[in-house]
């Protein structure tokens, strides 16, 4: 059986289960959801676990550090940072403390903290509320990066992060997906990190997509099917650890690949994945690898400009079409 819910509700549900199951799980920050039934759900959690849910002052540097230190001392904190760009205030604690402590200690100090943040072009977010820092965090050894694209994945991955992970995790959900509904299996389940999912099978072209690009790629695949192009959509679900095998198997099958992530193109997630494919599946490629990303410009405010830089389903379909023809 499955229940329909939003990603936000799925996250609150995962948090509630994890807090029930493990006393080490605590929350620092907001309630993961800003609207809908998830809010009532969160209010109940807050009442039940008042000593384990902390509403911090507006001090990202401080509370992200507090969460990392608490993880070092045995807790399993979830931090709700809110908009991903707010995490820029906390980079010193996330990148230069949480990420390096295990390595620095020669494998002694674990930092099982999860930083949750909403990324991407939300619509009108302008230059400071449309950020996609997943390439930065993927470029940081010591950090795990999760990018669920559906409520079911969000719940399973968050449970895995909160209950199983031994490492700091950056957990992304796209702003535009937060209120999208989808089926979530009943009961307690986890999705282990490092397991990609084939979201749609196809023969002619592989679309490797992360986060919000997954539903966009599924829409693109639907359109392409009408033109007689069979596209396979593969979602890595976590970038670190990365399930290279599933990605490469699909590329080897189709021989053509579009990689798409909603972040700026320079040194991007798409660029990193493309490099791996070029390196490890070159002989299978029948066409160059194409990237669909945000151009190298701060995301502008006006709707016409914002639309232009957004890696839409149409841009994904265009890229796939060009490879097959």
């Amino acid at each position: 059986m499955a229940q329909e819910m939003t990603i936000g509700e799925a996250l609150v549900s995962a948090l509630g289960e994890a807090m029930e199951q493990d006393r080490r799980v605590v929350l620092i920050g907001g309630g993961l959801v800003s609207s809908g039934p998830g809010q009532a759900q969160f209010a109940r959690l807050r009442q039940k676990y008042s000593s384990r849910i902390k509403s911090p002052p507006i001090a990202e540097l401080g509370f992200c550090g507090i969460a990392a230190g608490a993880a070092m001392a045995g807790l399993r904190p979830l931090v709700d940072i809110g908009t991903a760009t707010f995490s820029y205030e906390a980079i010193p604690q996330i990148v230069n403390e949480a990420a390096i402590a295990y390595s620095n200690s020669g494998g002694q100090t674990n930092v099982p903290v999860t930083y949750f943040m909403r990324y991407g072009i939300r619509g009108g977010g302008g230059v400071q509320h449309s950020g996609s820092p997943q390439p930065w965090y993927w470029n940081t050894p010591g950090l795990q990066v999760a990018m669920p694209s559906s409520p079911a994945d969000a719940k399973g991955l968050l449970r895995a992060a909160l209950l199983r992970s031994q490492n700091p995790t950056i957990f992304f959900a796209h702003e535009r997906l937060m209120d999208e509904r989808g089926p979530v299996p009943d009961g307690a389940y986890e999705i282990p990190f490092g397991q990609a999912a084939v979201k749609h099978e196809g023969r002619d072209v592989t679309i490797i997509a992360t986060g919000v690009q997954v539903p966009r790629s599924l829409a693109a695949a639907e359109g392409l099917a009408k033109e007689g192009i069979s596209a396979e959509v593969v979602d890595p679900r976590t970038l670190e650890p990365l399930d290279k095998n599933t990605l490469l198997a699909s590329v080897k099958k189709t021989g053509r690949v579009v990689v798409t992530d909603e972040s700026h193109d320079n040194c991007s997630v798409a660029a990193g994945l493309a490099a791996i494919i070029a390196d490890e599946a070159f002989a299978s490629l029948r066409a160059p690898i194409k990237r669909v990303t945000i151009p190298h410009v701060p995301v502008p405010f006006a709707v016409s400009l914002e639309d232009y830089v957004t890696p839409t389903a149409e841009r994904i379909a265009q890229a796939a079409r060009a490879l097959v023809r």
């Binding site: 401080g62 295990y102 390595s103």
Partner: protein, 312 residues
Amino acid sequence: MLPQISREKQLGILRKMLMIRRAEEHVIRFNEDYEGLIRGHFHVYIGQEATGVSVCEALTPEDYVFSTHRNHGHVIAKGGDPGRVLAEIIGRETGYCRGRAGTFHVAAPDLGIIHTSAIVGGCLALAAGAAFASQVQESKAVTVVFFGDGAMEEGVFYEALNMAKLWQLPLIFLMENNYRRVGRSGTIYKTTSELARRTRAGEGPFFVEARTHPWPGNEGAHPKLVAGSTNIDWAWDAAAVPDAVRSWYAEGDPVLIFARELVKDGGVGRDEIQQLDAAVRKEADEAAHFALESPLPDPQDAVKFAYAGRES
């Protein structure tokens, strides 16, 4: 003036202070005597021994300590093995962090020093986090975070201070102000013991300023033994100290001041202190030898320890 603590405790404090002094003298000699052994710049704890030792004497093994780029003394003060500290400083497999940390970041989780940051102010929020963990776990552990006066220029100081107070965390902010007067070991021990007790009872957080007088060898990024190794007899024979540094060793050196006070008011003989120093020097020499003889980490292990659970 000597505080009212047992003779045994006082000698224990002096012993650890001397151990830090002798170990740090070895660190400087590593740099002066061996080409390329100390890689990059480094910092020593000479002149601040009274603070680290007295604070850590007031703590239990379960209490957490967070340290800085000037960590060598803190690790020894919390009970660290000088050999493993020196080995870490020169990047050896036998060091506390298996050579991953080096001089700037020596951590010793077994001793409660779960993380050390060389970023000024880097540990302030982390320490508040460890204290928060103790609060949630309903443990009696107290967290002490050492930092210098410079860290108070960082924004994170105010964020951590604010949240520590808001959430009433069992945390002691221990600021080592290394620009002025001398922290007296006994005073610091008594103060910290009292504050640790009150912090454990839920009255925290507290802020302590321990003032120290900068050691003349600390000029620049590579400390130098400007007067050679410390001579314990300088404690009662100031005239023997080289002119250029006499005022510091006579009036600013917490180790010599404490030794002198123990002789003057504590009923401890000079010979007893000389013997203690000789024993400490021997142990420090052995520690240095251990470090120098220890192997470097296997080059192929460079890619280990990025992630827990993925070592194989």
